[in-house]
Symmetry: C2
Subunit: 376 residues, 2 copies
């Protein structure tokens, strides 16, 4: 299902085959939490800007419009008119970051909806059932996303429970994939490695979940407060124990530089809200660094955001115009910047894939990491 | 410049030739107050949904980003990347509806900006200068848009002043069109008929401004509180005195039925914010009537907004999905509905033009007016 086409150092150029088509990796998944990309970007737009995988969220869709509604509408693909792969996050992260008054037991988590406060229970089986209703291509395991920092003993116990939850997720998904009412009977389950910033817990956990022979493995619980160096260190420590022949997904990461550094360590899948969230504040990514379009110096700048970029915003509109749109509170400003930033991320991945194919990834990394992080 | 291709009753099928291309009339102008269509619709989108004329606003653009900035950027066409005709409203209506603490003298109007309260003076010359900076295809005369109801004596004096202002507008535009720094030296000036709901004042004013031999004439001060019947009555009374060979523009009107009724009376140009404003509240226009997409009955409705419509929203997305977008506060919902409603308006005009050409406008009017106003 996952084929490594080429390796350059630890960086991997692969193909992930799914019922909804082939994903060229390394890949950046475009986040559409509520079955829509924030900033008025449609799935038609996603095709134009080179998105391969759309990512939606179990927790949010369970609340709105409800996964049963999505199931009734024929699943997420039909609901949002997207025929390429969709990954659904399990809800674990949101339960631990958004919901109120949560109580964790062996069974799962009791919590209150962040919308109307109503009581909800979600455990491994519930998360799998919801994701089966959503009929995504890839479902994520239900895990506890531990705060950082957290005491060693707490993390150890939590990781043990997350392993047991993963076994229940696997069993439940196998069962759901055989049911007549299931829309995507080929739904894939990715496991999630946890363990905070403790090397031994991370490694032990990865070894244990690797035995479950899942179609993919994620590194979770990073990008939640630790430093970039700590994150890279965890990758260095854990990835040698992840199955070589399965894709590795670094959840919620990151900046362009973070992504390149993680690819260098052997990561294949990424997702991050900063591409679209920053865009909605006129904060732009380009090959030569980041820029804030609200800056006065762009008031009469006739250039496109990035003269070398071929996105729908750069092909048609100037910095001065887009800045005006933000100042005038016109939604079009957000839309154009989101289109640009997502186009940039999707095409950055294309550049990364090409650099690996051509055995010059280290050179690419050296040249890019600093330049991308520059403020221009 | 204006060519009537065919008449069917009082309805006119025409062509208005400008330096930015030919406008097929009757036409609906798509409102982009601040050089952008609200709802994240771009000028690229406008082409796809059949917009012929974009309409922006002198008052708003004078405040943000400033007409001098737009001039420096090469005019509105270049600024917003739109190569078809643009009409700019004169600011008169906004000065009288949005701005605070206004004081009218023979010279013009002193008022406070609705954004930051700063003092601004605008008279005929200032309005023409701003519109010349914006470099629109058609500039509107600076007039006083009188509240309804208003006393006869007040209206009479105001209309007299508006006539004197129009003469000053004409002189100033002639002067501006000869300057080297002027971007569009072929800018056209439309006069505006006022007179409240007083037949004699309306007729007398139209006769006086007709003598100025302007390239187009608007009916202003309607759709500001009077009934539809009063509006139609004014049209019946005034239009026989408007020059036959010049386009007539009914400002700020209206519903699909209003437009058909006005076309029947000989109106050629329209604009109205309800197409996009209603869309932003999920209120939809279709050939079979209006619908509110927030209605519960659409929660699991797999049909497009209008199964017969070929707009970008109806081609790709269901009522259930778009309703979900509104409920989830996703901007994409507004965008899709604005695209639909503007597409609907632009194509309604196409149907009107065809019905006139084929000498069946009365039949079209009879069949359409009630159906369009129905709540479905």
């Amino acid at each position: 299902m996952f084929k490594i086409l080429h390796k350059n150092g630890n960086a991997r150029r692969g193909e992930f085959h799914t019922v909804h088509g082939v994903v060229q990796t390394p890949v950046f998944q475009n986040v559409g939490t509520l079955a829509a990309i924030k900033g008025a970007v449609s799935t038609e737009d996603l095709k134009e800007i080179g998105c391969q995988v759309e990512l939606s969220n179990t927790y949010h869709l369970h609340l709105r419009p409800g996964d049963k509604i999505v199931h009734q509408m024929g699943g997420l693909h039909k609901f949002m008119n997207w025929d390429r792969p969709i990954l659904t996050d399990s809800g674990g992260f949101q339960v631990f970051s958004l919901a109120g008054l949560r109580k964790i037991t062996e069974e799962g988590v009791k919590f209150n909806s962040h919308i109307d406060g109503r009581h909800i229970f979600m455990g491994p089986e519930e998360s799998m059932q919801i994701q089966s209703n959503l009929a995504s291509t890839i479902a994520m395991a239900f895990d506890e996303c531990i705060e950082n920092p957290a005491p060693y003993e707490y993390v150890k116990n939590s990781v043990d429970r997350t392993t047991r939850w993963l076994e229940r997720c696997k069993a439940e998904m196998s069962r759901l994939n055989t049911l007549d009412t299931t829309i995507n009977k080929n739904q894939l389950l990715f496991g999630i490695n946890q363990g905070g910033i403790f090397d031994d817990l991370r490694v032990e956990h990865m070894k244990r979940i690797a035995k479950l022979d899942l179609p993919g493995y994620a590194i979770g619980g990073l990008a939640v407060g630790e430093s970039h160096e700590e994150m890279y260190h965890i990758l260095d420590v854990v990835l040698p124990h992840a199955p070589e022949d399965r894709p590795r997904y670094l959840m919620g990461v990151g900046t362009p530089s973070n992504i390149i550094e993680a690819v260098a360590r052997g990561v294949d899948f990424f997702d991050c809200v900063i591409a679209s969230r920053n865009a909605r504040h006129a904060f732009i990514f380009t090959k030569n660094g980041t820029m804030n379009l609200l800056n006065n110096k762009y008031e009469t700048d006739p250039l496109p955001i990035d003269p070398e970029c071929n996105c729908p915003a750069c092909r048609n509109y100037s910095r001065a115009y887009i800045r005006h749109l933000f100042k005038a509170k016109e939604m079009l400003g957000m839309r154009l910047c989101v289109l640009h930033n997502l186009y940039f991320y999707n095409h950055l991945m294309e550049d990364i894939r090409l650099a690996i194919e051509e055995d010059r990834f280290e050179e690419f990394r050296r040249e890019s990491v600093e330049k991308l992080a520059k403020r221009i």
